[in-house]
Each structure stands twice: as structure tokens, then as C-alpha cells.
Symmetry: C2
Subunit: 323 residues, 2 copies
Amino acid sequence: MRIGIYGYGNLGKGVEKGIALNPDLELVGVFTRRDPASVKTVTGAPVYSVDQVADFENQIDVMILCGGSATDLPEMTPSLARLFNVVDSFDTHARIPEHFANVDKAAFQTGHTALISGGWDPGLFSLARLYMNAVLPEGRDYTFWGRGVSQGHSDAIRRIPGVKDARQYTVPVAEAVAQVRAGKQPELTTREKHLRECYVVAEEGADLALIEKTIKEMPNYFADYDTTVTFVTQEELTRDHGALPHGGEVIRSGKTSAENSHVLSFSLKLDSNPEFTGSVLLACARAVAKMHGREIFGCHTMFDVAPADLSPLSPEELRKKLL
Amino acid sequence: MRIGIYGYGNLGKGVEKGIALNPDLELVGVFTRRDPASVKTVTGAPVYSVDQVADFENQIDVMILCGGSATDLPEMTPSLARLFNVVDSFDTHARIPEHFANVDKAAFQTGHTALISGGWDPGLFSLARLYMNAVLPEGRDYTFWGRGVSQGHSDAIRRIPGVKDARQYTVPVAEAVAQVRAGKQPELTTREKHLRECYVVAEEGADLALIEKTIKEMPNYFADYDTTVTFVTQEELTRDHGALPHGGEVIRSGKTSAENSHVLSFSLKLDSNPEFTGSVLLACARAVAKMHGREIFGCHTMFDVAPADLSPLSPEELRKKLL
């Protein structure tokens, strides 16, 4: 299966590394908006300009789109779905219906297969919520994120005047997780579910008290959370907070009768969010190629993919080894 | 969606109770090999003899087969798949290929849709293994069962001379679970993974030491495990060990690069194994009816079912609420 990577940031690199772990997948190349000569890939894969992409129409089975959800993917995915089968990790929840419709139209018109919102949330966590709701209809589910780095929140801190660099961790509140795991179904406010830990490098002479106040009172991002701000040096930030770990847990508890309750949980503990997300997108790419082979065109999500299609094993092997 | 229940033991009752939680499902009736007049259902659903089942060919959308895997289902599922769309919970691992082939043939020839080996293991745990292997190809997975009642092991104890009644719990070894959750990949023997706790009611005058020795040395069932045997009165067994709890955890840990490891876990804590299994079979029945509507005939497992088909929600609602 011939894979292309479109966009070469952290996620693109994660996809590239993942290909080496899947003997049935082969990387044709990386497409970048930068000057290809300036980009050096992790595994030595060839680099092309996005302007050359149309030349690869018949050389790539699935293109994995590694742009951002805010501005890149809403344009990129429908446009590339006219040339290729595509997979993206679009995660702007409110805009999924619109994005789905745009990609569906482009893919259908040109006989391509697309999968949007792959990854772990949306993605594996969405699947956990779906399966758990289907098999335990009377109940309540909770999603906790972290401990992990939120790039959006880190960026928001970096935009504050006087801030040189920053890293923000989202941390689930241990008591809340314990209650939910025990099968209780508490009403939890935003503040009761997650904490936010910020590590900030300030510019020389900056007003630290003002930076801390600005962070803690920032609407949407921090105001509704218990937030800690710790000032560190650039060296400390690079050394102690250079990785991109993440994870979390989906828990559903409910009843099948007055007497009998059940607790279901799916959790992830990830050393590298982009590498794991890239690895999930590769499994999605495999499914997209299989579905395209069956002429199942248009846009899909992981909800529409038969699990067997994500695997390199045959149905017989899957029944024998994993059922 | 009109559901029938074929076989009315613990699992059949679990399915019956689950129907009340799914507004889109309706119970047509329970079919039993006993005298229908002697069977009283939990919810007051009508009871019919298995001899009448052919009369219901056009009144039931999916028949859920609640027989045992040892002798009932190998006959029952292919035979009923000639009249109905069917779901079973066949769990004799070694015979799955043969059972699948028999059911596939019967269902295909008559234009029916069948799903075998539904439930949680095989079933949800199989799905967890498949998804985890697909998204993290380099790694190792572990399945722990319990703490929960194993009916097969309880039966094996009851067959020992001098034993009046017994209940056996399978218990995962806490240290092994902790190691695996921490991302280590230990080689674990059978003994290192699970313990077996037996609660036994002996007949008056029975040789307790001999019973204990017979249990602990029983090949396949107990000899390879650390086993405890506790003698209790019938009253104690009924009072303290009358429920059928179960559960367990599937864990996979692996790497996406030399530096970065990840741990994935799916766990269940169930007050009632038959009620939860019944609830899973109902979600499978919903998928089977949808697939039959699309003329996808023959035999399937949960590996072949697009997750969305298990849910009563439309694809649009699913994307909006759960993605």
C-alpha cells in the first residue's frame, strides 16, 4: 500500500516513523509547502513540493493529510480528495458536519474514499464512547484527558506579552477519576474534572505577576480551571518539558437492571501524542484503501469502518488469533 | 426491531432484561425446550416451545441464541440460521473456524445474516485486541480475566464425588497486572497471571482433604494455577457467592520509535456477566438487522461490523454526539 504524507510537522513525522512498523505500507514521499531542499526527513524519505502533488495521482494509494484543523484541513482535505484517497485528523468538533459534507462531495464526485477525524480523540476515544453506549444504553460516560501537553493552550500562553516560551499540561483530577471508575455517576463541573499546569519562560524584566494573572483569567482556556503557573528557564523547559506525552480515559458506568451495575473503561498512556496519532492514521489509511477497492466512495469516520479493515491480517487470521 | 430469545437460562434472562433498555427493540417471545407452561419469564414475555419456532419465521427480525457452546450452539446456530437472522455467543475458541463455516453456509443459502461469538470475550475484548494491534503494530498484549465466576470451573468442581455445590472465581494476579499496566512486557506463565479461588459445599461425611487435593491437581482446570479451596455451608455459598460478577482487562503496550512507548487498556467490571453479555448481544442483533437490510448475508463476527451499526443513533447523530 503506497502512502503519501502531506504536511511535515510533528504529526507528519509521526506518520513517517509509523510506516517502518507496518510491512504492508510503503512511503512514496512527503509533500511540503516549504522549499523541499530545506526539509530533511527522519527516515530519508523523498520530499516534494505541494505544487508537484498532482503528478502523483496514480502513484499513491492513500494520502495522509497532516495539516492543522483551524485553517489547513478545511481547504486541504476536500481539495486533495479530488486527486487521492485521503485520511485526516480533523478535530474541530463544531465544524465536523460541514467538513464531512465538503469532503464527501469531493470524494464522491471523483470516485475516492476519505476518512476524517482519525486519531485518538476524535478517533479511538469516539469509538470507545460509541461501543460503550451501544452495549450499555442506560448509563453515563465521562472523558478525561491527560496528563498531557495541550498545544492549543501552550500557544495561548505564548501569545501573552512578556512570555518567551510555554508548555501547558492538562491533568485529570484524581478524585474525579476515582469516583467515576468506582461506578459513581457524579455531576462534575469543568473545574472538577481537569487541572491546568503551566510552565512559562518569561522575557527578561517581564512582570511575572501580571503574566500569571493574565493566564489564570484567560476566558475559555484557563478561567474555568484550577491553574498553576510555574516560571522556569528556557533550559529547564527544553530539558524537562520537551516531550509531547498525552493520554486519557473514557469511562462509562450504567445498569442493566435495578441490581446490576457495570463499569467500562478505555485508557491510553502515550509517550508521544504525534507518533501515536500518526500510527492510528496509518491503520485508517489501510482501511480506506480496502474500502476503495470495494468501491465504497465518499467520506467516512472510524464509526463506519469495520474493525477488520484496519488490520493487515486476513479475516481468517483475525478470527484465529484475536477473536 | 423484533427480537426472539431461543433458550432461557441465565443468558436468555439477561437478554430479556436488556430489551427494556432499548426503545427500538421489541421482544416477540422466548423459545424453550422445556414445557412452556412451566416457564415464567422475568418481564412476562410469552413463552413458546422450540417446536413452534418455524411459525415465527416472518415475525422475528433477529433470533438471539442463548444455548451453550459445548453442544447446543454447534447444532442450533446453523439450523436456526436457515429460518432467521441469528446472533450467538459461541466461545469454544478452537472450533470457531468450523462453526463459522457451518453458519456461513446455512445463512448464505437462505439469505440470512448471522453473527457468532458476540459478547465480551469473545466480543468486546477481541475488538480491543484487534484495534490495539492495528494502531500499535509493534508491541505485546495481555488479557486478564476476573475477578469473576467461571461457570466451567464451578461445574468441574461440582462433578467431584462428595461435592454438593461449588463456586469458582478467576482472579488476576495484581502484581502481573501492575507490571503490564506500567508498560513492562513480562513473560508470564499461566500461574503468574491468574489465581483460582474455590468455595465448596461438601456432602456430609465427605473427605475434605481428598476433595481439596482432587481440585488442586485437576489437569487443565486447576493444576497450573495457585488454587485456594474454602469449604462453606450451602447457606454461605448462596448468600455470599450467589451473584455472577466478572470482568477483566485487555492491555497492549508497545513502541512507535526507540524512545516512545504507549500503553492501551480496555477494562470491564461487571456485576452480572449474563446481563452484560445479553446487552452486548442486543447491540449485535441491531447490527445484524441493519446488515440484512443491506443484503449482507452469511456469517460475521464483531470484527466485520461497522461500529455505527451497533447503535440506535443515525450516522449524523453519532458524529455530532460521540465523535
